[in-house]
């Protein structure tokens, strides 16, 4: 099992929307859920998806600014090699239309048969 945590701030100058690109490797099944957390500790699930996504809108700047979003991803390693270690990676990029970016990258060598990677990436939108 691998656990990966990271956080970042996205200083947006846009007035439109916040987007996400997520790449969880080739052929490795993954699930991701994105939550908005407010000052009272309440959570709202904004969206969830399986696999990779590109240029998907998380929400409007009006809704997300000065809030935290938590991106939780689970990746299952089911690769086809019982002996040799292989690279598993996760790349998450949160950005606005003006190309302000908060991103994180994670990679590790792993062996198949059910290795699970848990990633939580907290992004605060300023």
């Amino acid at each position: 099992m691998a656990k990966f945590s990271d956080s970042a701030q996205l200083k947006t100058t846009s007035r439109t929307s916040i987007f996400i690109d997520l790449f969880s490797g080739y052929g490795q099944p993954s699930t991701t859920s994105i939550h908005l957390k407010n000052a009272q500790g309440q959570e709202e699930e904004l969206m969830n998806f399986d696999g990779n996504v590109e240029n998907v809108e998380i929400g409007t700047v009006r809704k997300l600014k000065y809030n935290k979003i938590e991106i939780r991803t689970t990746i299952h390693d089911v690769h086809d090699n019982p002996i040799e270690k292989v690279d598993i990676s996760l790349n998450i990029r949160v950005y606005d239309e003006d190309a302000n970016v908060a991103e994180t990258n994670f990679s590790m060598k792993t062996i198949g048969m059910g290795t699970i990677i848990y990633s939580d990436f907290h992004v605060t939108i300023f």
Binding site: M1, A2, K3, F4, A39, K65, H79, I116
Partner: protein, 431 residues
Amino acid sequence: MRIILIFLSVFVVLKANGQNEVDTVLKEVKGIKLDLLKTPTNPSFQLMNSSATEIIEPGMTPEFFTSIQNASNNFTSLPNNLAIAFTPFWWGKQAKNLSFEKDFSETNRLNFTRTLTVSAGMLNGVQQDQSLSRFSLGFQSTLLRGKVDKVKKDIYFKMLQSIGNKYFEDQRLALQSDPNYLKLEAESFKILDSLRVLSVIEPNDSITDETLNGMMDSLEDTYEKIDNQLLELRRAISAKIQTIESSPELDRLFNSMNERYGFKWDLGGGLAFNTTEFNLNNTGIYRIGLWSNFGGNLSKLNSGNSRLSIFFLTRYFYFKEIWYERGDNFEMIPNLHTVDMGTKLQLHVAGKFSLAAESIFRSDISQSIFENTHKINGIAQYQFGKNRVLYTSFGNDFNDNSNFGPQNLIITFGVNLGFGEDIDIKGLTMK
């Protein structure tokens, strides 16, 4: 007043330092308990002519199993048919890191070394001569094990994913029970609130744009430090979430998934020795054999744990010499070569109980006086635990010693006990 409150909120923020190191922890969860032993025999018994069944369903066997059997061709008060079998693959490192795609695949993959089993056995006393004992050395390898059922694999995988989802719930509970984390998080939200307020204030005579920007920059810097501290705590707390052994439910689903379908094929062989009163001078080869079993399910597997299967056998034996009765005469047949062909119908019920009927015909290919013979046999087996098989059989024995046709009943009772085949799956965690 609002400005004062904003300043106050800034002062309550703690000084924080953080690190941006990537923290990865790789842990193993041990303990998928494989249930592999399904066979009611041992290659050595087949070589010694004391097997409960002549035709077997090709499959993989555990690291080690022992066969203890009593048979009516040499009944004694204690079982005296003994055999052991090893599967060396399980000794290697590769057995600890199995792959879904290679070892539990939805396609039928060709194997030899992974499924190779080496066996040795002995029996004391045979029907014709109680002073005679037999030893054997055999091997069996399943070349095609069949395919993993996709439906069952999906069920197992969903179970894995549900465990994966639980990690974040465990993490949330762990973070909420840490006072430092809660305190820092509350402070971070206060800063966000302050920033939200500042962002809507228009510059005026009492507060200039420069002052506002300076305050916001300062708050963002403080926020970043707190956020780093929160990250550090989150990593530390997450690392403490415990790993556990695989659950019985996971084992059950895994083994259900590993009940395979599709074409199955194996190859076996070996040799057996006869010895009289354990005297080296009276020891010699009884027979050498090479055989292959193949077949598959007649019914679909994913409809449940019950299935109907059919298997076929083709087998070659070389007998060094046999005494053969024909009419009133006994003759010695040297270097007898025979070929067996057989079929077996097998019904598995509820993954535990199995009934089978088989018939095998043996013919001479060395053009001796040996006449064709056959064996018709019924087998019942019950799996009373993981890798524990209790079995019995009832049928006639081949008549390799006269042309009077099959004469002797052979009834067997035995148990196969397997050990040491747990495998590791990495990353299954529950708190």
